[in-house]
C-alpha cells in the first residue's frame, strides 16, 4: 500500500482518503482543514529542531524551577531542596503582589447593592464553634460594653447590650457563612444593621475603615489574645451586614460570640468577629489578625 506516491501521473488517479480530503474545499467554517505540508531541507530541519528543543527545554526547566521556588519554606526544607532558613525577598514580593491583585479584584467585584442569597429555615445547618483558641469564660458577658471610637462628635461612646437592643430595630436573615478553610454553614441570624449604628453614631468624614476588636478573645492555652479585624465601611454599610445578637432565634451563646458579633456574609468567616468590645473608625486601613498570618486582608467573597 503506497497511497502517496511521488510520481505526479499516479497522484492524479489516487483516491485515498487523505487525498480526497485535501483536495476538497471545506464545506463549513467548522470543518477541519487539510494539513499544511511543506518541503524543507533536512539540514535546515535539523537546525530548527535543535533550536526549538533547546529553547523549550530551557523554558520548561526555568518555569518549573520558578514554580518550585515559590513553595513555602517548610515544604522545601522537608523535601530536602533547601536546608537553611533563607527567605528570598523575591518570592515574598511575587506572592504578596498576587495577593494584592486578588484583593483588588475582590474589591472591584463587590457591589453594595448586590444582596447575597437567603435561605429558608428548613435549610439551616449546624454552626460549629470555630474559636481558634480557647472559648472565653462567659463571666465577661454581664459587664460587657461596646466602645465606639473615631466618631464625628469627637467623643467616645460606650453602650451596653440593653441600650443597643432597645434603640435599634432588629433584622433577621438566613445566610451562608463561608470559612476560609472551605466549610460553610447556613445560619439564622438576628441583630441590628451595622448601617443603622453608623447612622446613629456617624464616624468622622474621612473614615474609610472600621477596626473591630474583641478584647476577651483567648489563645490556644487560654492566654489573652485580642482578636481584631479590618472592615471597609462600604461593606459595613451593606444591608446584610449585621451586628448580630441572636442565633436561631435565641440570644447568642458564648461559643458564638455573645452578646454581639459581626455577621457579614460578603466576607469570609474570619472577618465575622465574635464578642466585639470596640469599634474604631479610621482613615487608613487598620491591621488585621489573620492578614498578619499571611491571609488576604480584604477577604471579600
Amino acid at each position: 500500500m503506497n497511497p502517496e506516491d511521488e510520481h505526479p501521473a499516479q497522484r492524479a488517479d489516487n483516491t485515498s482518503a487523505a487525498e480526497s480530503v485535501s483536495s476538497r474545499r471545506p464545506a463549513s467554517f467548522f470543518q477541519e482543514r487539510p494539513p499544511q505540508a511543506m518541503e524543507v531541507d533536512p539540514q535546515l530541519l535539523r537546525q530548527w529542531t535543535r533550536r526549538d528543543v533547546l529553547l523549550f527545554g530551557i523554558g520548561t526547566i526555568a518555569a518549573a524551577a520558578g514554580g518550585a521556588s515559590l513553595l513555602p519554606q517548610t515544604t522545601l526544607e522537608r523535601l530536602g531542596i533547601l536546608h537553611k532558613q533563607k527567605n528570598r525577598p523575591g518570592k515574598e514580593w511575587l506572592l504578596d503582589k498576587a495577593l494584592r491583585v486578588d484583593d483588588d479584584v475582590a474589591e472591584a467585584m463587590y457591589s453594595g447593592n448586590r444582596l447575597v442569597p437567603t435561605y429558608t429555615k428548613s435549610q439551616i445547618t449546624p454552626l460549629r464553634n470555630n474559636y481558634n483558641g480557647a472559648t472565653p469564660d462567659p463571666g465577661y458577658i454581664p459587664e460587657w460594653r461596646l466602645t465606639l471610637d473615631g466618631l464625628a462628635s469627637g467623643l467616645s461612646v460606650s453602650l451596653n447590650i440593653r441600650s443597643l437592643l432597645a434603640s435599634f430595630q432588629l433584622h433577621e436573615q438566613i445566610t451562608r457563612l463561608v470559612c476560609v478553610e472551605g466549610w460553610s454553614a447556613i445560619t439564622w441570624w438576628g441583630g441590628l444593621r451595622f448601617d443603622d449604628l453608623l447612622r446613629a453614631y456617624p464616624p468622622t468624614s474621612q473614615s474609610k475603615w472600621a477596626r473591630l476588636e474583641s478584647s476577651v478573645n483567648l489563645g490556644p492555652w487560654g492566654n489573652p489574645d485580642p482578636y481584631f479585624v479590618s472592615l471597609d465601611l462600604a461593606t459595613a454599610r451593606h444591608a446584610q451586614t449585621l451586628l448580630a445578637t441572636h442565633l436561631n432565634g435565641k440570644p447568642l451563646t458564648v461559643e458564638h460570640g455573645a452578646p454581639l458579633r459581626l455577621v457579614s456574609p460578603v466576607k469570609l468567616g474570619l472577618k465575622n468577629i465574635k464578642a466585639i468590645t470596640r469599634i474604631s473608625y479610621t482613615k487608613d486601613e487598620p491591621v488585621d489578625y489573620w492578614a498578619m498570618h499571611g491571609y488576604s486582608r480584604y477577604d471579600g467573597i
Partner: protein, 274 residues
C-alpha cells in the same frame, strides 16, 4: 513506528540523487499552542499541590473516626499504612500526614497554599487565553471539534487498543485504523475534554472564591459545597488525563513528542498514532 515515517525515509532515499533533497513536513501546532501546552506543566503542578493543601484544611471525604488512630480521612489512613509497611518509614514523625506531606505543601500551610493557588490560578487563566489565541490563529481548534462519526470511530479505536497486547504477544501484525484527520476519535474526545475541563475548573474556582458576588454562577454548580466537589473531581480528571497522555506519547515515539516542541510533524497527511 508507523509506516508513514518509513514512507518518509523511503522518500528521502529515493529523492536523494536528485537536486532537491527536501523533506515533506506538515504544520501541526501553532507556536502559542505549544507554549501554553508546556506552561501547563508547572502551572497545573502548582495548582494541584496547593489545591490539595487547601482541601486538607476541610476535607470533604471523611469516614467515622477510626477507633485505632482517630483518623477521619482516608488519605491519613493510607499514610499510616504506608509508614507501617514501607521499610525505613517506621520512624516517620507523623504517619497520618505522610500522604499530604508528599503530594501537597504539608500541614498547616493554608495561608501559603491559598496565595500560591491564586497566583497559579491567574496564570492558568492567562495561559488559557494564550491557548485560545494560538488555536484561533493556527486554526487548530477545528481538529478538536467532536463529530457524529466519533461515536463509531471511538469504538473502533478502543477495539484496536484492546487488541494491541494480544497482537504483540502473538507477534501478529495489527493494522492501525486509518484516519484522514489530525486526531483519531479517541484523541479528539480527550483533547476536546481538556479545554472544557479547564474552563469548568476556572468557573468552579471562581464560584468557590466569590460565592456571594457570583452567586448566580454558584447556583449553576448546585451551591458552594457542591462547587467544591466539582472542583475536586476536575482536578482528578486532569490527573487521570495526564498519566495515559504522557504514557501514550512516549509509546508513540519521538515525532509526536517533537511536534509539540517544533510545531511540525514528519507524519505527512494523517495521524495514525496517539
Amino acid at each position: 513506528m508507523s509506516h508513514s515515517t518509513q514512507l518518509d525515509k523511503e522518500r528521502i532515499a529515493t529523492s536523494a540523487p536528485e537536486s532537491h533533497a527536501g523533506v515533506l513536513v506538515v504544520r501541526r501546532h501553532h507556536l502559542l499552542v505549544r507554549c501554553s501546552h508546556w506552561l501547563n506543566v508547572p502551572i497545573l503542578l502548582g495548582l494541584i499541590l496547593s489545591g490539595i493543601s487547601i482541601y486538607w484544611a476541610s476535607p470533604v471525604y471523611q469516614h467515622k473516626s477510626s477507633p485505632m488512630t482517630g483518623n477521619v480521612d482516608p488519605l491519613a489512613d493510607l499514610g499510616v499504612w504506608i509508614c507501617a509497611h514501607v521499610p525505613g518509614l517506621h520512624q516517620y514523625s507523623s504517619p497520618p500526614d505522610w500522604v499530604y506531606n508528599h503530594i501537597s505543601l504539608g500541614p498547616g500551610a493554608l495561608a501559603e497554599a491559598l496565595r500560591l493557588h491564586w497566583l497559579f490560578a491567574y496564570l492558568f487563566m492567562l495561559n488559557g487565553l494564550v491557548f485560545v489565541i494560538g488555536s484561533a490563529m493556527g486554526g487548530g481548534w477545528r481538529s478538536l471539534l467532536l463529530r457524529w462519526t466519533d461515536l463509531r470511530d471511538a469504538l473502533m479505536m478502543s477495539r484496536y487498543y484492546l487488541r494491541v497486547p494480544v497482537a504483540k504477544l502473538t507477534r501478529r501484525s495489527l493494522p492501525h485504523p486509518r484516519f484522514s484527520t489530525k486526531y483519531n476519535a479517541l484523541q479528539r474526545v480527550a483533547y476536546f475534554s481538556v479545554p472544557v475541563a479547564g474552563l469548568l475548573s476556572v468557573f468552579t474556582g471562581w464560584t468557590i472564591h466569590k460565592p456571594m458576588q457570583l452567586h448566580w454562577l454558584t447556583a449553576i454548580f448546585g451551591g458552594y459545597d457542591k462547587a467544591r466537589i466539582w472542583h475536586f473531581w476536575l482536578m482528578c480528571f486532569f490527573i487521570s488525563f495526564v498519566v495515559p497522555h504522557v504514557a501514550l506519547v512516549l509509546a508513540d515515539g519521538w515525532d509526536t513528542l517533537r511536534s509539540m516542541i517544533v510545531g511540525w510533524s514528519m507524519k505527512a497527511g494523517r495521524s495514525e498514532d496517539l
